[in-house]
Assembly symmetry: C2
Homo-oligomer: 319 residues x 2
């Protein structure tokens, strides 16, 4: 079976680990990774979501934190600060720096991000095929109003430096309109037996992937069932700032509203948590099959059960 | 008093520390640093000699080693090796990486190496004005013959990876012929009251600086006395591979031969170690005033005495 998943960072990566636990030998998982949160720091190309997937599935992730490397040190960061070179709010560790140095060197040598990602995964062996959504530069910016007035900041600045405390007035995936899907992305979607939307951020993760021209249409046209898992439980994101960025696109932060935001053009099935059991009827009425199953990824078994439920729903809705 | 010194790496940096100890308040030291041993590693611009001077005079050097940072760690290097990305023979530590990241980022932003060096020195406060010999890329290559045949390798590969064990057949400062002296270099030489050649490598350090068109002529034409210190004691370099690279340019590895290699067009005075007292007559006969004083930089006091002797000889030969 060929499974395609669109994934952001921590939530997506953890879900994918559960998915790997439940697929049959020989099943192939292709992950289309969000690159809209990529950022250039210190002259280096940093791809937080791709790296979180790669580290998580490859056994190198800082488990408690969910991002960055286990057993990390911060000598480079301290030295950069001693030079007065910022930003200081982005926590790049020494091990992580090596990844960005390799990536930046390969990009400078002319390799596209997809080839670079494949090379990095050669070390990490994540057990999935990890494809950047695009080889073209896309950067999610967030419009805010602060003491400097109304302005757009990089998504990482909004989230990591500003802790998403200010309202997000608009989400702009800069460059997405002219970006092309990465090599293999459309082909994987078209050839998929199942397409999954993990409980990643529907706006700045999966929304950004879908904003690359051709990807949304490919998912909508794909013969495979498309099943998503709500990142909202009980009216709040399990982690992250989905409520803030949903507000920016005029969608309420509920399990039902997110499903209907994707819409039946994209989704065939949707999983909500039992805390949102009241969403089932509303989503079903919207033309999307809906089930309530526990959606907290509290441990590997719970996460595997979520993945199994998603695959089961896919079989049920298969046309 | 305005003192100008041409300097390579470890030997030059240690001498400069002694020089700082003996100059009068208000004296200004300008160091023209060799950049011929610069190398691009992992996409980063590494300037070993400039950094050795900067770290040594700024209090950040690994004292025993003579290069690199004190209290260094090697997490980035280990990770790069885990990615299979080399070379592994160049010992870049985490703290050192930060310097190269800042430098590379500034160069990519359009700043010349001289401005970058000034910015880095803003942190280190080396107490001297450190000027790269040129803002243009110059790379010293060494011609060798090994199992791969006759070929040129980067100087760092010759020295660090191959330990200078193979004969150096030729020394080629690639790019030197079209390089321009860095901002302030010729002006500093012309305005100097004393010009010093520390006991740096006469071929790949001071020789490379002099190979930048205009610098040799400026030193020869400078009104200031020019005094050098022999890097060769008792027929062998105190450290490094000066004997190997001297052979490549047809100069014997003796204190006298090095002085005569520079020649009376450049040098007004030359210091040799008492172990080479027999060189005094030969150098003097060559038109260069010569004194024998202890030249081993065994401790700060010994190094300061060397610097004092060089300044005294400069006064004696002042025309």
């Amino acid at each position: 079976m060929r499974i395609v998943a669109l994934a952001g960072g921590i939530g997506g990566a953890r879900f994918l680990r559960g998915l790997k636990d439940v697929v049959a030998p020989g099943d192939e998982i292709t992950v289309i990774g969000n690159t809209g949160d990529d950022i250039h720091l210190f002259g280096l190309k940093v791809c937080p979501d791709l790296d979180t997937v790669m580290y998580t599935l490859g056994g190198g992730i800082h488990e408690e934190q969910g991002w960055g490397r286990a057993g990390e040190s911060f000598a480079v960061k301290a030295e950069l600060a001693a030079y007065g070179v910022g930003p200081s709010w982005f926590g790049l560790g020494d091990k992580d720096f090596a990844t960005h140095i390799v990536r930046t060197q390969m990009l400078a040598a002319g390799y596209p991000l997809s080839a670079v990602t494949e090379a990095l995964c050669h070390r990490w062996q994540p057990g999935v095929r990890l494809l950047p959504m695009s080889d073209d530069r896309v950067e999610t910016h967030v419009r805010i109003t602060d003491e400097q007035g109304s302005r757009a900041v990089h998504f990482q600045e909004y989230w990591v430096r500003l802790h998403a405390e200010l309202p997000a007035e608009a989400i702009v995936p800069v460059g997405a309109d002219t970006a092309k899907p990465g090599p293999g992305v459309l082909e994987a979607i078209a050839a998929a037996d199942v397409i999954l939307f993990p409980p990643s951020n529907p706006v700045v993760s999966i929304g950004t992937i879908l904003a690359v021209p051709g990807i949304r249409a490919a998912v909508a046209a794909a013969p495979a069932p498309v099943v998503g898992l709500s990142p909202i439980i009980g009216g709040a994101p399990v982690r992250g700032m989905a409520d803030k960025v949903l507000a920016a696109v005029g969608v309420e932060a509920t399990a039902a509203a997110v499903a209907l935001h994707y819409g039946p053009e994209l989704l065939d099935g949707w999983l909500v948590d039992p805390a949102d059991a009241d969403a089932v009827d509303r989503v079903t009425a919207g033309g999307i099959a809906c089930r309530a199953v526990p959606l907290l990824m509290t441990d590997p078994a719970a996460t595997a059960a979520m993945a199994r439920a998603a695959l089961e729903l896919a079989e049920q809705v298969r046309g």
